[in-house]
């Protein structure tokens, strides 16, 4: 049996391994727009002059994706689904210093 996140099976493939999909309940999604604070922006700007990885932004985006993912799972739960298949992520920079992280998938009911 696949493991669950908050009672929901989430996979990025078309099927949930070991389970048969009975019904689909449409597309569920979760999104978040996050920004780091001014101080972090400043330190990262200095780091950017020299080049290399910008660890604060990496951290920010991973945190934000966790949040978007949690919201999507909550959405799926509210629809009465017990699984999400075909999970996809999308990112867009809505304004300088802020990024929108979007996460979507198909909510399904399994047997």
């Amino acid at each position: 049996m696949p493991s669950t996140v908050d009672g929901i099976y989430v996979v990025s493939t078309e099927t949930i391994p070991g389970l048969i999909i009975k019904d689909q309940l449409g597309v569920v999604s979760g999104s978040t727009v996050r920004a780091k604070n001014v101080v972090r922006d400043f330190t990262q700007m200095l780091k950017n002059i020299v080049g290399g990885e910008l660890p604060q932004y990496t951290e920010l985006l991973v945190e934000s994706r966790n949040e978007a993912f949690t919201r999507m799972v909550a959405d799926a739960k509210a629809r009465g689904a017990n699984g999400v298949v075909n999970l996809r992520f999308a990112t867009s920079a809505v304004s300088p210093g802020a990024a929108e992280l979007f996460c979507y998938g198909t909510a399904v009911v399994t047997e």
Binding site: V11, D41, N48, E53, V62, L87, F89, P96
Partner: protein, 184 residues
């Protein structure tokens, strides 16, 4: 009494304004002194740092490969789902900022068009790094394979105008990790 009130009402904002001005002046002076040195540092150490990173990455890739036997990542669907005992979505990302030197070189490249090699090298290395992080994450969590792997690249940053703020390229990878009952 009314005089005191007058000074309080007009003086405090004025003082704050002056302090604000002094702060930005000091910042501007310090920044313009430090900037050329940082720029030069980035320009001089950039390529050697990249080579070092590449070397380390190759060593890490070999380590995971010797542990797992074959590459755990694949874009495949599942062939024999009855074998799977556990699954879960994993994701990881990296934000790389091209140094101002590299941005300058790229801008010169772009004048003539064609392949912009500085960015290509950087992004190629970032992709390998993010794949390696996904592999390490999967092996740390005890997954035998990762299926349905996807990549996503996007520009993020805090541009305000051309020189202010930072410019970051985000490379993001995700997939479904699976544990197999009897890996064959």
């Amino acid at each position: 009494m009314s005089e005191l009130l007058f000074y309080a009402v007009c003086g405090i904002p004025l003082l704050l304004l002056v302090l604000w001005g002094v702060f930005w002046t000091i910042y501007g002076v310090l920044f313009s002194i430090a900037y050329p040195f940082m720029f030069l540092y980035g320009a001089l150490t950039g390529s050697s740092k990249r080579k070092e990173w590449q070397k380390k990455l190759i060593i890490r890739e070999r380590q995971t490969l010797s542990k797992t036997g074959k590459d755990v990542l694949s874009m495949d669907k599942l062939r024999r789902p009855q074998n799977v005992s556990e699954s879960g979505v994993i994701w990881t990302s990296i934000v790389i900022g091209p140094s101002h030197w590299q941005q300058l070189v790229a801008a010169i490249y772009m004048l003539f068009g064609g392949s912009v090699d500085v960015y290509r090298d950087l992004i190629a290395l970032g992709r390998s790094e993010v794949f390696q992080r996904l592999r390490e994450m999967a092996t740390d969590k005890g997954y035998d394979a990762v299926i349905g792997v996807r990549l996503d690249t996007s520009m993020i940053g805090t541009h305000r105008g051309k020189t202010q703020g930072s410019k970051g390229i985000e490379i993001f990878a995700y997939g479904t990790g699976i544990k197999l009952d009897n890996p064959a």
